[in-house]
């Protein structure tokens, strides 16, 4: 018993003040890219050629955050000339096209469906479906339940049964072998329901794009309401997305 108390005292209170107070991530963290619109087209082309995810438009220089895995290679290759990754982790978008960007994402809070805020603003229950990714996405969603993030204080919970859920939160490129399970789970959620695609995989196939063992894009199966980019999205990226889209 004494040990329980001693540990409790040592651990103290650890919950982050975000979103009331901003959090600064370490400078090496790669968040929202800031594309240099005046970059020489040769440099853009070199970066576009070298990008493992084919995420860079070689004409416009826009980066598709739905494909990008934030490996940082384009920044290194161009020595920051084409793009610099900021530590801004607020990356989510309500429309797929918005993810193709110079780094000027529209404000998420103003683009959500008003009726979602009304329906789910005070209480949101989500069923997470993991469908063919690498499991890092799931790991960093799970983390939201640790004391630092303490997701439930916002009235948001991940539940076991789709019947108890207001929507699904999908990760992974939808392997063929999970296609049916995704559809069945979606069908089991009562309407109105929301669909969240999380991570490069669920948005575009991610690192596995082009594989014939995957569907590759959740939108091909069910209409997606909210996109959370990253590989995986930082827990704060997810938290920001949920709070701004639903609150």
């Amino acid at each position: 018993m004494l040990k329980v108390l001693k540990n409790r005292l040592e651990q103290g209170y650890r919950t982050a003040k975000y979103p009331k107070q901003p959090i600064t991530l370490y400078e090496r963290f790669r968040g929202l890219p800031e594309v240099n619109r005046n970059c020489y087209v040769e440099i853009i082309r070199r970066c576009a050629d070298a990008c493992p995810q084919a995420a860079i438009n070689s004409e416009t220089g826009q980066i598709d955050l739905g494909r990008c895995v934030f490996c940082g290679f384009c920044e290194t290759l161009s020595e920051g000339e084409f793009v610099r990754f900021s530590q801004d982790f607020e990356l989510a978008a309500a429309a797929r096209d918005d993810l193709v960007t110079y780094g000027d994402l529209p404000r998420l809070a103003e683009h959500s469906h008003k009726h979602f805020k009304k329906l789910f603003g005070r209480s949101l229950q989500l069923r997470q479906i993991s469908a063919g990714g690498c499991n890092a996405c799931e790991a960093d969603i799970n983390v939201l339940n640790t004391p630092f993030f303490d997701l439930s204080r916002f009235g948001i919970q991940y539940v076991a049964s789709p019947r108890h859920a207001d929507g699904i939160h999908v990760t992974g490129p939808i392997s063929k072998n999970m296609r049916q399970a995704v559809l069945t789970t979606y069908a089991a959620v009562p309407s109105p329901k929301v669909v969240i695609a999380s991570g490069a995989c669920a948005i575009s196939g991610g690192p596995f794009y082009g594989s014939d063992e995957i569907v590759g894009d959740l939108n091909q199966l069910i209409p997606v309401d909210l996109y959370i980019p990253g590989c995986p999205p930082h827990p704060l990226t997810t938290l920001h997305a949920l709070l701004n889209y639903f609150k």
Partner: protein
Amino acid sequence: MVELLPIKNNELILRSDIPDLKFDDFRKALLDFTGEAGQTGQIVQFFAYPDQGDLKLLAVLRSDKLYVASCDAPAKFTSLTAESEKFNLFEREMAEQYGLEPEGHPWLKMVRYHANYTGRPDIFGNDYSSAIPGNYPYFKVDGEVVHEVAVGPVHAGIIEPGHFRFQCLGERVLNLEIQHGYQHRGVEKLLQTVPFKRLPILAETIAGDTTTAHALCQAQALESLIGLEVDAGSSRVRVIALELERIANHIGDLGAMSLDVAFAPPAAYFGRIRGEYLNLSQIVSGNRFGRGLIRPGGVTKVIGPEQRELLVAKFAKLTPEVEHVNDLIFSAPSVLARFENTGTVSHADAVKLGLVGYVGRACGLPYDSRITFPTEIYGELPANSNHVTDGDVCSRAVVRREEIMHSISLINTLLAKPESAGSYLPARLKLAPSAMVVSLNEGWRGETSHCLLTDAAGQILRYKVKDPSFHNWPGLALALRDEGISDFPICNKSFNLSYCGFDL
């Protein structure tokens, strides 16, 4: 005895130097090496690959050395699994990938449920138009009081998909059958066909929680094939990254195990502390899972004075907390009562299945590839040893606790001495033609291995990945025999195997 070729970890081998045996001699050599007499002989890799229109088999075996041999693959051959369990999943995998038939295999079942690569008739009679598991009846136990529990693929928590079938007598589990394949996304096929620039991204996402170990295997294998040297400073960064990965995962799991036996405080503490270690990975690499750090030729980021200072300070703060929370878990009688004698795998069974990593070490198989086949600078670092080896949940927990402390001391040692890493040169260089290399690293779950074969033009002909989970999932099924079904969560968590690493 037929000669197998002794090789070294990450050694560049010309394919023409690999002994090319007749199938019968190959079969006998493998069985001799792994059988009763050679108890310690285990399989690192055993797979089929195409070679100028034909198929061949290749095996990499280990005792305290590594060996390789190959043979022509007969379309049908006498199963090795019939004589040794060690071959079970490997034979099923080659049947599924290349349509080869191991005749007399006692349980020839698909592994991941996908069409084979060759266009040969499907061994399992599937046309893959129906959903997994297709044309396959699950193992069934008959009897009036026997009941079946089916769980998954979508589980209750935020975890990966997989299907578990329990045959139970009341609460007692008679048999657990584990069906994978839901995470199959065609990783090996991609690795064999995509442009070079995509390889590191794929390696890092074979199993997200094992990003560093898989990235390391690939980088080292490619470095051998290209002929790249890695400087000592980069090697240190790699080792620090791999040990950070080990610490974070073990800590998260110990917390979760505590929660599974209803002792909540350590779960909250370790849940947060795991995050602190992930954040340290982010300080080094820019990503909580170490993505973007390891590339063929070196590392993309150095640990400079600033990062070193941050790491040292955080370690000084976290180490006592880790010790205290561990002490809290392991001195709670209610925890130990649930951990001890639960989910036991005997030493003999562990040998038979070839279990690796902390699961193997908890059964008294001391194998640690950091020690037996050291890469990077592991040869200069002290080994760990484990003394609680009863094969139960408790042993697995204790081994993990010891490994956390060992990894912390390794990182402290490495941080004590500053060394700058050379900058890394991102370039596509030519791979050696008609060559082979096998790479082994001790990921946090155990022996992680990539094996690459190139063709005469220096293109990747076959890229074989093996996550330690491939060895250990059958261990979990065995641990559940005769256990109460309510002990499944704690057994499962004590193994914590990868679905995506298995499914590829």
